[in-house]
């Protein structure tokens, strides 16, 4: 063990790089141990061989050649580098552009979406306004609401129901007749047709009656023939209303 320990330090001992304690320890041991002396001789001769070995120095040609090669390589590589750079820029621009597009797109989409809801809500608000106006105490305002109701589609059953309500129950004849006129535009709906026929039977105001007779003839509602005939038979019906029936009835027959 001791010899191993000493032998590990032999190179250090020969190169004088050991601490003084270790140095004297090695010296002491070498005086007594022949094995280690032999080892020391081996290490000495190995080191001598290393020292005597001549260091190979590369020729100047090598450096020149290398520089030449490097230059040529750089010359070869540089055209490739140049297109690479803009390509990278183009890509990054694309990325930036894409992200901008996405952001703006998202913004516009959101805006559009909110516009849609806004339009919808405005329309809804408008609908509520019209519905409220239909109940206004002013007859002129109700007429305004009735004519405004034209712009709604037949899907707005609330509007149609409110108009039918006006047709039957409004105290003002002008409102009733305006309601009839607006309802005529929704005449594809069966409830509208039913309401118009029913109103002809119940309304006592001659202006409204005449309006209804003309509308029913215009929308070619054959089921109104019976109600019209009833009006003709009714003694209370004024002559001028009967005249209107006589004028319009043939177009339904």
């Amino acid at each position: 063990m001791k010899c191993n320990h000493i032998q590990n330090k032999l190179i250090g001992f020969l190169e004088n790089s050991l601490s003084e304690v270790a140095n004297s320890e090695v010296k002491e041991h070498l005086k007594s141990c022949t094995n280690c002396n032999k080892e020391l001789e081996d290490v000495k001769s190995f080191l001598n061989i290393l020292d005597n070995q001549k260091t190979e120095i590369p020729s100047n040609n090598l450096r020149d050649n290398f520089n030449k090669m490097l230059a040529s390589e750089m010359a070869n590589a540089s055209p490739k580098v140049i297109p690479l750079k803009p390509q990278q820029d183009w890509k990054s621009y694309l990325k930036v552009a894409a992200s901008i597009v996405i952001v703006i797109g998202a913004f516009l989409f959101g805006k559009h979406q909110s516009n849609i809801t806004k339009i919808a809500s405005v329309k809804n608000e408008h609908k509520e306004q019209v519905l409220a106006l239909l109940e206004n105490t002013s007859a002129s305002k109700r007429i305004l609401a009735v004519t405004n109701a034209e712009e709604f589609t037949k899907k707005d059953t609330k509007i149609i129901e409110a108009l039918i309500n006006r047709l039957f129950f409004d105290k003002n004849a002008n409102v009733r007749s305006a309601a009839a006129e607006t309802l005529a535009k929704f005449s594809s709906e069966i409830i509208v047709r039913d309401a118009l026929i029913k109103a002809l039977e119940t309304d006592k105001n001659t202006t409204v009656q005449i309006e209804l007779i003309q509308i029913l003839a215009k929308i070619q509602e054959k089921r109104a023939i019976e109600s019209m005939k009833k009006l003709l038979e009714n003694e209370e019906t004024p002559q001028y209303v009967k005249q209107q029936v006589e004028l319009n009835l043939p177009s339904l027959l």
Binding site: K141, L144, N172
Partner: protein, 264 residues
């Protein structure tokens, strides 16, 4: 003693005045709904009250019957008139007045046969809705509020009004003379048989819709589109036109009567 006499005189004069006129405060009232089957005359006045009075057609007959009236009055002493239509709360005037929110309902309780016309003075800006029943007529002047009238056979006459107007009659004639035309909401004038005569200021901005099976006469410039296509079966003809680049909607509809639209 003298003071008491004067006071007594004063009181009786008030009482007698009340007999000819009934007043009702209109504070907080925006609209008056009047129903009477007689000749209704409404005038705008610088008043904050409703002033109701009889407007008998023939004063001479009234005088001649004065003696009879006195006898009748004696008979009624200690009795009150009751009506099927409501409670008289106008000191024997035969009207029922009820307030609902800012609307005042004035309902005539007497029949058409006992009324010989009434006269109401109302604030200029009051909104009015008047129904003259089956036989009554309506004549009004000078109102700037909304006016809504309906008669059956009676005539409708309006002067110096601004609208919005909503008028309907079956047989009665309609005469409306506008001072200026309010742009707030539509004007609708309709009749079944009778003619309609409307006068508008020359600078009126309006979208006019005229419909009649009669004839329209006007001195306004109307752009009449040349019609093509199907002939109108019902004979219903509509003329749409803008006056002074358009404005408030004015509907004038008569089933059979002529329409006269005058430029002032």
């Amino acid at each position: 003693m003298k003071k008491i006499l004067i006071l007594l005189l004063f009181v009786t004069s008030i009482v007698s005045a009340q007999k000819k006129e009934f007043k009702y405060s209109l504070s907080g009232i925006k609209k008056i709904v009047l129903e009477s089957g007689t000749r209704i005359v409404l005038t705008a006045g610088n008043t904050t009250e409703l002033v109701l009075s009889d407007n008998a057609n023939n004063h001479k007959t009234y005088e001649r019957d004065e003696h009879k009236e006195k006898l009748k009055e004696d008979k009624r002493k200690g009795l009150t008139a009751i009506y099927p239509g409501g409670k008289d709360n106008t000191d024997g005037f035969g009207f029922s007045i009820t307030k609902e929110g800012n609307v005042l309902y004035v309902t005539d309780l007497k029949s058409t046969y006992q009324r010989h016309g009434i006269k109401l003075v109302l604030p200029k800006t009051m909104n009015i809705s008047a129904n003259a029943g089956t036989l009554g007529s309506i004549s009004l002047e000078g109102f700037t509020g909304e006016v809504e009238v309906a008669t059956n056979v009676g005539r409708i006459e309006m002067k110096n009004v601004t609208g919005p107007i909503t008028a309907n009659t079956s047989v009665g004639k309609i005469d409306i003379d506008f001072d200026k035309v309010s742009q707030t909401s539509p004007i609708t004038i309709s009749s079944s048989v009778s003619e309609i005569d409307v006068a508008l200021p020359a600078d009126t901005k309006a979208d006019i819709e005229l419909r009649t099976q009669g004839t329209v006469y006007t001195n306004f410039d109307f752009d009449i589109p040349t019609k093509k296509g199907m002939p109108n079966v019902s004979g219903r003809k509509t003329i749409n036109s803008k006056l002074n680049n358009g404005g408030v909607k004015i509907y004038i509809k008569s089933s059979m009567g002529n329409i006269y639209l005058r430029k002032k």
